[in-house]
């Protein structure tokens, strides 16, 4: 009995317990109204089911959340330009592949060139943000506000204000699936990004450096860590993630829709970091927490669709669930619970 209690205590004590718990809570709530939520079948050689939708559709957000986590951890600020950077990356890729035309049925330039250009565009945007934040010491929110507002304008300029369509089967593969592989491609992309980042942070000292800089950038500088460089790199990495995410989003709709690619996704990415139990003040961070946070957000949207909640009420439900999840994870709530417990124990003793 005691052993069991100790195990439960250890389990609930781990950092990722609450985020995972919340994710499961959201998913399991479907059993009430949509019993078939967890059914998975094979359609056209691709896995098909609500749960696959969650994993598939969350991919863009997962990739963004990875970059956002590092930015938050290193600089204690957020990059609000990621949605706009996604749109720039999509626009650059489609512009190159279409050769400037509005709709094409075959690539005008090699596919890889378009992808590389989009990723480079993402990195450039990230460098711009990083330069402003790390070197010029501008507040992250203000610095990234520039691309937040200008990014979509740039994307509009590249696409000449039109939706550029790339009607080529191979362009759609990144956003849908590759024949013969039953899992949608975006899932793999997200998995690769998460794994590579995880290995990079764990196998090198980069993860520790980012935490150190986030906790106290001056102290870490005195210790010999180039804190400016670390912050700069975290923004560059965030830009890279936004670029990749933009490619996936653009491939899903085989076009560059400058107005709508990644619209409001920067807020979801920040929310994912918060839902993952990370402090938005920087410092200690959990990459996997953010990833779980991202899946929770998508699970929530898909759940609301599956339940047939009327569209004008969806934001209310979303807000309510988010408030509950964030409140569950707040340290103040834990303290309150603890205080109640000690009071009860004390009361028992007196009695």
């Amino acid at each position: 009995m005691n052993k069991c209690m100790a195990f439960v205590k250890k389990l609930t004590g781990t950092r990722l317990f609450l985020p995972i718990f919340c994710l499961f809570l959201v998913l399991l709530s479907n059993l009430i109204k949509t019993p078939g939520f967890f059914e998975v079948s094979l359609k056209n050689g691709v896995l098909y089911g609500y749960i696959i939708d969650v994993i598939n559709r969350a991919s863009d957000l997962v990739i963004l959340a990875v970059g956002m986590t590092l930015v938050v951890a290193a600089s204690g600020g957020t990059d609000i330009s990621v949605g706009a950077v996604m749109s720039v990356a999509g626009a650059v890729c489609c512009f190159i592949l279409s050769g400037g035309q509005q709709t094409v049925n075959e690539f005008q330039n090699p596919y890889l060139l378009g992808v590389m250009a989009a990723i480079i565009a993402g990195i450039l945007c990230g460098s711009f943000n990083g330069f402003l934040v790390a070197k010029m010491k501008i507040q992250p929110m203000v610095a990234t506000l520039i691309l937040f507002t200008a990014g979509r304008g740039i994307a509009q300029l590249i696409t000449k204000g039109q939706i550029t369509y790339i009607r080529v089967e191979s362009y759609k593969k990144l956003g849908s699936s590759i024949p013969g592989i039953p899992i949608p491609t975006p899932v793999f992309v997200a998995l690769i990004v998460v794994l590579l980042t995880y290995v990079l942070l764990k196998k090198t000292t980069l993860g520790v450096y980012i935490q150190t800089v986030g906790i106290n950038s001056k102290a870490s500088r005195l210790m010999g860590i180039n804190s400016t460089m670390i912050i700069f790199l975290s923004y560059v990495f965030c830009g890279l993630c936004a670029g990749i995410s933009g490619l996936v989003a653009s491939s899903r709709i085989y076009s560059a829709d400058a107005n709508n690619i990644g619209l409001n996704l920067e807020l979801d990415a920040i929310l994912a970091v918060a839902l993952g139990g990370n402090s938005l003040g920087g410092g200690k961070f959990s990459l996997l927490g953010s990833v779980i946070g991202a899946y929770t957000i998508q699970a929530l949207s898909t759940t609301l669709y599956a339940m047939g909640v009327s569209p004008d009420q969806i934001p209310v439900y979303k807000a309510a669930v988010v408030v509950i999840i964030v409140a569950l994870q707040s340290t103040e709530l834990k303290r309150m619970v603890k205080r109640l417990q000690t009071e009860r124990v004390a009361g028992k003793k007196v009695a």
Binding site: I138, G153, I253, P311
Partner: protein, 380 residues
């Protein structure tokens, strides 16, 4: 966690000269930043406007520099001299083929040849920019202001200013919501309610043609952004006319926010919840494209030869491609060619006649079987 306020602690130990230097640096930074913001912000607008309308930008600078001269010319015009009519047009921004066609229609109507001078402003999807543009128009003392509003609300103040200046305002496309109707002279746009009626009318005919008139029909709707005029009109239009068809059942409505990605996501969900969908109504073409992808991914077929009938709205060029490819059944037109209608109204106002408050543009229904023949005739 210990946080050291870098600026504060350093300043304490610094001598005056360094403080000065530091202050200078910070001023410089702010200046650079401001410049950067202005540059990035402006270059967007500027270039967008330039690429879209070289002529318009030209006339804009003209108007700004020779304001006095223009005011003079206006009085001349009012004296009966056949002088050009200056029209300020604030467009939402370039967002789709539809919007571009709308802009083009205005530009090709309000030409110097037709006796107009058009001052074009691209608001880049922001109402603030539109308010600014309208105030600029008032300052430049244009003869007419035409607005394609980004949002329905928030127009009272600026339209009152226009009214006080005696400039008639014509609203195009989306409706506005103001406390006082007299703040605008006329509205030109689509009858979204009628579009909804047309969609149901087409479906009725189609079902009769395919001998399904007495069968149960299950319908799902992918709605536009909740609260937009197009969404409200189309949803209500369909709902009203559906009452005449007892056998038709609306299974569910959900918003796809007018985007292809969301349309696909919503359709994916519909297909999993219901396996007996006969008809999909997508409230714009982009969402219909997304829905078609979702239908195909679910192993079903759509279009005239498929299991699911796809009804869409707007009828943009890409919709005709989709119909020719056999994916979409019908698209109900949302006509962007507002220019001639606005010009007609201005003509009447110039003659001192009264105009109708609400003027609808003509709109058609384009089913798949005529798509190939119609496409070359389309202007957008």
């Amino acid at each position: 966690m210990i946080r050291i306020d870098t600026n504060g602690s350093e300043n304490d130990s610094l001598n005056g000269g360094k403080v000065m230097k530091k202050r200078f640096l910070s001023v410089l930074t702010v200046a650079v930043m401001a410049a950067a913001t202005i540059l990035t912000g402006c270059s967007g607008t500027q270039t967008a406007a330039t690429t879209a309308a070289p002529a318009a930008t030209e006339s804009k600078s003209d108007a700004a520099t020779t304001e006095a001269a223009k005011a003079e010319s206006k009085t001349e015009a009012k004296a009966g001299d056949k002088k050009e009519i200056v029209v300020g047009f604030s467009q939402v921004g370039a967002e789709s083929d539809w919007r571009t066609a709308n802009t083009e229609s205005m530009k090709s109507t309000f030409t110097e040849k037709n006796g107009y001078k058009l001052i074009f402003d691209d608001a880049q999807q922001k109402q603030e920019n539109q308010l600014k543009a309208v105030r600029n128009f008032i300052q430049q003392d244009v003869d007419y202001i035409v607005i394609a509003p980004v949002t329905e609300t928030g127009w009272d103040t600026v339209l009152q200013e226009a009214k006080d200046a005696g400039i008639p305002v014509i609203i195009v496309d989306r409706m506005i919501n103001v406390s006082d109707d007299s703040l605008y002279t006329a509205w030109v746009g689509s009858n979204f309610l009628q579009e909804g009626y047309d969609a149901v009318g087409w479906l009725d005919e189609y079902l009769k043609k395919t001998d399904r008139a007495d069968k149960d029909i299950n319908i799902v709707t992918i709605q536009g952004t909740i609260g937009s005029s197009a969404q409200i009109g189309r949803t209500n239009g369909v709902e009203e006319k559906m009452k005449d068809h007892a056998k038709w059942k609306m299974l569910e409505r959900q918003t796809g926010e007018f985007t292809q990605a969301k349309g696909q996501e919503v359709m994916e969900s519909f297909l999993k919840t219901y396996n007996n969908i006969d008809v999909v109504i997508a409230e714009n073409d982009n969402m219909a494209f997304g829905a078609i992808d979702a239908i195909k991914a679910a192993g079903k077929t759509c279009g005239p030869k498929g299991d699911i009938t796809v009804i869409s709205f707007d009828a943009v060029a890409a919709a005709f491609d989709s119909m020719i490819a056999g994916d979409m059944n019908v698209s109900v037109e949302c006509n962007p060619l507002h220019g001639p209608r606005v010009s007609e109204i201005i003509g009447k106002l110039e003659k001192g006649e009264t105009v109708e408050k609400i003027a609808y543009v003509k709109e058609g229904v384009y089913p798949a079987d005529t798509a190939a023949a119609e496409k070359p005739k389309r202007q957008y």
